[in-house]
């Protein structure tokens, strides 16, 4: 399951829990990717909306894909507001094999950016502004444009 949290992620605690969860699973490689809110464009932070049913099915499909490659994926994400220099996203891969782990974390993170039903907003002067220019249409979008 994807882990969703209101506000910023407690990164050390999550990384430790996942490490300990798989301590006896005989994976040789564990690669977490941690995404942190950067100070840029004078924002005060970011905010996120998530559509959970489709996120869950996207993640289930990834869990299956990872399993076929000999890997395991985990993910955590923030809902709502995350201030500057706090983290909103962790994706992780475990695998017995180094190459599988390195290739899977790359594919998993990139597909997440392109497909996961999560919307990002800049927090700026008390407003919540959709990060339209940094957003990616999901594959197959525009179906209803006629």
């Amino acid at each position: 399951m994807v882990e969703l949290y209101d506000g910023p992620l407690d990164v050390p605690t999550i990384l430790q829990r996942w490490y300990e969860e798989e301590a006896q699973s005989n994976y040789g490689a564990y690669i977490p990717f941690i995404g942190t809110v950067r100070a840029e464009d004078e924002i005060d932070g970011l905010s996120f909306d998530i559509y959970e049913p489709i996120l869950a099915s996207w993640f289930d499909a990834w869990q299956q894909r990872a399993k076929e490659a000999g890997a395991l994926v985990k993910m955590a994400h923030s809902r709502g507001d995350v201030p500057l220099h706090h983290s909103s996203y962790i994706a992780a891969v475990f695998s017995p094999k180094r190459r599988v782990a390195l290739e899977t974390i790359d594919l998993f993170v990139e597909d997440f950016k392109a497909s996961a039903p999560i919307w990002k907003y800049d927090l700026k002067n008390g407003e919540r502004i959709y990060a339209k220019d940094r957003s990616t249409p999901i594959s197959g979008s525009g179906l209803l444009k006629g």
Partner: protein, 73 residues
């Protein structure tokens, strides 16, 4: 009736429509000025599964979701 949900930044409450396929939904949403601008870039899910064809049939009680461009992480 099918229910149309607008996700993320599409600031619009759900609506209900009579429709027997996604084509019917497309036709009706084109008349909605608030929504029209999103049709170009939104992906579509029926009952929480992304779909790729306007011929996707719809039945009473189905849920159609519009997903605008995403940016997680």
């Amino acid at each position: 009736m099918v229910r149309i949900e607008f996700l993320g930044p599409i600031q619009k409450a759900s609506i209900e429509l009579e429709a027997s396929s996604l084509r019917d939904v497309a036709d009706q949403l084109h008349h909605d000025k608030e929504v029209r601008e999103w049709l170009e870039t939104a992906a579509v899910a029926v009952n929480d599964t992304l779909v790729a064809s306007l011929d996707t049939p719809l039945k009473d009680g189905d849920k159609v979701s519009l997903l605008p461009p995403v940016c997680g992480g």
